[in-house]
């Protein structure tokens, strides 16, 4: 038999190796799953992981990589700050939706005015909207001790209802022949978030994601705030002793991750999505949780994990079109990734020994 022996510290090798092992295990299990469903496993895996980048249709799918990875990375880099501190914002999806609604509100209020300040004002509104939605669980935790996990998660469903209400009510396009949904911001130059370089998929959200990565890397490694965040996560009593006020950290982390999620929503509504619809939330906020953990809460890891997750989105769609794989393939893959990552994580904290 085998037994697990705790390690004194988590070796860097295993910290890097386990996400890779999780990806490989996901591919193998996914292949077996497809084989059981009667599909060719090798072709399926190739369609999901290879074809979007190098396949015959990659000219279309490659730009999509940045379109999908941008919001994932932007949201995940904010979530990672809180996760490091042991503050669990599970409701980034809701903050993403509210950020999009607030940003779109600015644009729709200004319509059809053309001015340079409109897009910056939308950015501010998106960030503030996400921040405010994130502050609700923060304040409830600080004042009443409510679990931020439950509150932030449940606020997602509130946000989804608000999005539906907006699409059917206040934000409905007056020239939209009574279809639900707001005006399309892509057709409103002052408010649109266009592709910056043709055929790359890069829009302002991608730039913001890169800035967020660099800033969070700097804060976590060089700034005392990052040290306090890590201390609060590793040893809460030591953090208090060092002068950290837990309430402030809760407000900061939930507010900041909410603001970044709100930004991601704003860039999405002004860019690829174009309008507020009943089903504006597309799951980026939840997938970003996987991205943050798969990336080991480290900026570089989050960059790679964000690209990989974006790949599963695109590859999943491609597999639906090309091979008629079920639509739930993507969720199954993303779920398996997190599952295997958490499973393999045992190897970073324990070593396996043969029982004598």
């Amino acid at each position: 038999m085998f037994r697990l022996e705790p390690r004194a510290s988590a070796p860097l090798l295993w910290q890097v190796a386990t996400p890779v092992m999780a990806v490989i295990a996901t591919m193998i299990t996914g292949g077996l799953l497809f084989a059981a469903l009667g599909f060719d496993p090798v072709a399926s895996i190739r369609t999901i992981f290879w074809d979007p980048l190098f396949g015959p249709a990659s000219g279309y799918s490659r730009p999509q990589l940045l379109v999908k990875a941008g919001p994932l990375i932007l949201i995940a880099s904010g979530l990672a700050l809180g996760f490091r501190a042991g503050i669990w914002n599970i409701g980034a999806e809701g903050q993403y939706i509210i950020g999009a609604i607030c940003g779109a509100a600015v644009a729709l209020a200004a319509y059809p005015h053309e001015a340079f300040w409109i897009f910056p004002a939308m950015i501010v509104a998106g960030a503030v909207g996400g921040w405010a939605w994130g502050m609700i669980p923060a304040l409830l935790r600080n004042w009443f001790g409510a679990s931020e996990i439950l509150v932030s998660l449940m606020l997602v469903y509130v946000a989804q209802k608000i999005a539906a209400w907006m699409a059917f009510g206040p934000m409905k396009n007056p020239e939209g022949f009574n279809f639900p949904g707001s005006r399309n911001l892509q057709q409103y130059p002052a408010a649109s978030n266009p592709e910056l370089i043709a055929n790359t998929g890069l829009h302002w959200g991608g730039i913001a994601a890169l800035v967020a990565l660099v800033v969070t890397w700097f804060v976590m490694s060089r700034h005392i705030l990052g040290f306090r965040i890590r201390t609060a996560g590793a040893a809460p009593r030591a953090a208090r002793f060092a002068g950290v006020r837990p309430e402030r950290l809760v407000a900061l982390c939930l507010g900041l991750s909410g603001a970044l999620a709100g930004l991601a929503g704003l860039f999405e509504v002004a860019g690829p999505a174009g309008q507020i619809t009943e089903s504006f939330g597309s799951g980026y906020g939840f997938t970003a949780i996987i991205v943050a953990f798969l990336g080991r809460l480290h900026p570089l890891g989050i960059l790679l994990a964000g690209l990989l997750m974006a790949l599963t989105y695109i590859g999943g769609e491609l597999a639906q079109m090309m091979l008629n794989l079920p639509a739930s393939t993507v969720q199954v893959f993303q779920g398996m990734l997190l599952f295997f990552l958490l499973g393999f994580d045992i190897l970073t904290r324990y070593r396996i020994r043969r029982r004598a």
């Binding site: 510290s9 700034h223 005392i224 201390t231 590793a234 040893a235």
Partner: protein, 505 residues
């Protein structure tokens, strides 16, 4: 005197450590036999082998002439070995009788059990009401429950692991009277401690361990405490130097400090004290009487109403830990792992917990990692912290070395006032002497020092004045000069609850 227990050539190796090496000794019937050694000398490994928690790699044991090789603690108990652990394993919400029944293989009916508990507790002078809830018992009474639990098994060998660390001196006296009575009835007692005076007064023989080996078995009454310590440490102990201290002006003034009632922990009640420059104030008391809370109220983890904490005429009461450190009030909490230091972080990173501002490591929020490493290295050098380097995780250091690092971090911060809680708890004798000397040197240079400790010898050795902390209240200070252990015991609330109670039959 026939041998109840005998060990021959016991050895145990853990990865990288030879915990026990060729250990042979014996405990006779009716003998109180001390097992003496520093932390890490191999005492607990040895005891775990006797109690069946760990199996020896080589050697063998005998119990009353028959081979003793227990597969687990249950087998050890069945063959007549009982053990009272340092940390109690009792359920607060249950009564004494219920707790004892839980630990038995085949508990008799409750009434019968209560009767036997009452009989035994009368017979051995351990007053205890079987119907009382554990939550309402003092530490000394809880220990009695553990002892009674052992006595109900009629053990041939009773192992006691540092039993007096949670007791006041008067409670300890009662314990020793019980042990004497047990020994007189023929029970062999293996007594683990590093309190030398206690062993010299009460034990018949002492086996001294160092680095996993038996140094020798001696009659503790024939040796001085210094000689025993020298055998334990393997070198002459350095005497601490108390000279060169002159109390000056009042530097810290605590007035009517109270903390609001909390759901857990002790509330501080109307605590007042003054501390002068160059003075060491000792605060004694059994753990759990408000020590953690007092340190937190001084470090700034708990803030209190205006005018309660004043440092050199600056009111710090409402300020958090950072501004208090900036003002010169530094502190070192008891719990090294997770409070005074973050176990997963390197020593370099651990300097940032408290020294960021005072050592110019953090400027305008930016961390100077080189300065942090340099400061960690200077602590390692000045306090002889044994570690591969400043990049080592704090959790990988031994207790004594990490404690030297934690105390060193604050001492090198150049405090006006330093507050330490249990500065040498669980620290080997050599490191403890170094830490005490550092505190004395700091006071000699003009800082005020508050030492909160359970170790009365330590407090008498270090402090100029002594107060006792009991249930959140601080006694008026007394000069240490001329104070006896008995008087201190009474200050600590000493004999409260120690009279022989009425035990319903």
């Amino acid at each position: 005197m026939s041998d109840v227990f005998r060990a021959e050539g016991l050895g145990k190796t853990y990865p990288g450590v030879r915990a026990n090496d060729d250990i042979s000794f014996s405990v006779g019937a009716g003998e109180i036999h001390a097992l003496l050694g520093e932390n890490g000398a191999g005492k607990s490994t040895l005891v775990k082998m006797i109690y069946g928690l760990v199996r020896p790699d080589e050697g063998h044991m005998q119990l009353s002439g028959t081979p003793h090789a227990p597969a687990d603690p249950r087998a050890a108990r069945a063959s007549g070995v009982a053990m009272v652990f340092q940390h109690f394993s009792l359920f607060d919400a249950l009564t004494v009788a219920e707790n004892i029944a839980l630990g038995m293989e085949n508990p008799p009916p409750r009434a019968e059990l209560s009767r036997r508990i009452a009989e035994l507790s009368q017979a051995y002078g351990l007053p205890l009401n079987p119907a009382r809830r554990i939550a309402s018992l003092s530490a000394g009474e809880r220990q009695r429950v553990e002892i009674l639990r052992c006595l109900l098994q009629n053990p041939r060998l009773l192992i006691m692991d540092e039993p007096t660390s949670v007791l006041t001196p008067q409670e300890a006296e009662i314990l020793f009277a019980t042990l004497r009575q047990l020994a007189a009835a023929g029970t062999a007692i293996l007594y683990i401690s590093h309190k030398l005076e206690e062993i010299r007064t009460h034990c018949d023989r002492a086996t001294i361990l160092r680095h996993g080996k038996v140094v020798g078995t001696v009659d503790p009454r024939a040796h001085s405490a210094r000689e025993l310590a020298a055998m334990m440490v393997g070198a002459e102990m350095k005497l601490v130097d108390r000279s060169g201290r002159k109390p000056g002006d009042v530097v810290l003034d605590v007035k009517a400090l109270s903390t609001p009632a909390a759901t857990e922990g002790v509330t501080l009640k109307n605590i007042s004290l003054t501390l002068r420059t160059g003075e060491i104030l000792g605060i004694g008391g059994v753990a759990g009487n408000g020590q953690d809370e007092l340190l937190a109220a001084l470090s700034g983890e708990i803030t209190t109403p205006h005018g309660t904490v004043t440092l050199s005429s600056a009111d710090l009461s409402a300020l958090g830990p950072d501004p208090r450190r900036a003002a010169g009030l530094l502190s070192a909490p008891e719990d090294r792992l997770g409070h005074a230091a973050v176990p997963q972080f390197s020593l370099t990173e651990n300097t940032l917990l408290t020294a960021g501002g005072r050592q110019d490591i953090v400027k305008r929020g930016l961390i100077d990692h080189n300065a942090a490493r340099a400061f960690a290295e200077s602590i390692i050098k000045a306090f002889d912290v044994r570690t591969p380097g400043p990049g080592t995780a704090a959790g990988a250091l031994s207790g004594g070395n990490l404690q030297k690092f934690v105390i060193g971090r604050e001492v090198l911060g150049g405090p006006k006032v330093l507050v330490v809680n249990q500065p040498t708890w669980g620290v080997d004798a050599g490191a403890a002497a170094a830490i005490r000397q550092a505190l004395l040197d700091l006071a000699a240079k003009g800082a005020g020092v508050i030492v909160i400790s359970q170790d009365l010898d330590e407090l008498l050795e270090l402090s100029d004045r002594f107060c006792a902390l009991n249930e959140g209240r601080l006694s008026p200070p007394r000069p240490t000069e001329g104070l006896t252990i008995d008087e201190i015991g009474l200050m600590l609330g000493g004999a409260h609850g120690m009279e022989v109670g009425h035990v319903p039959a």
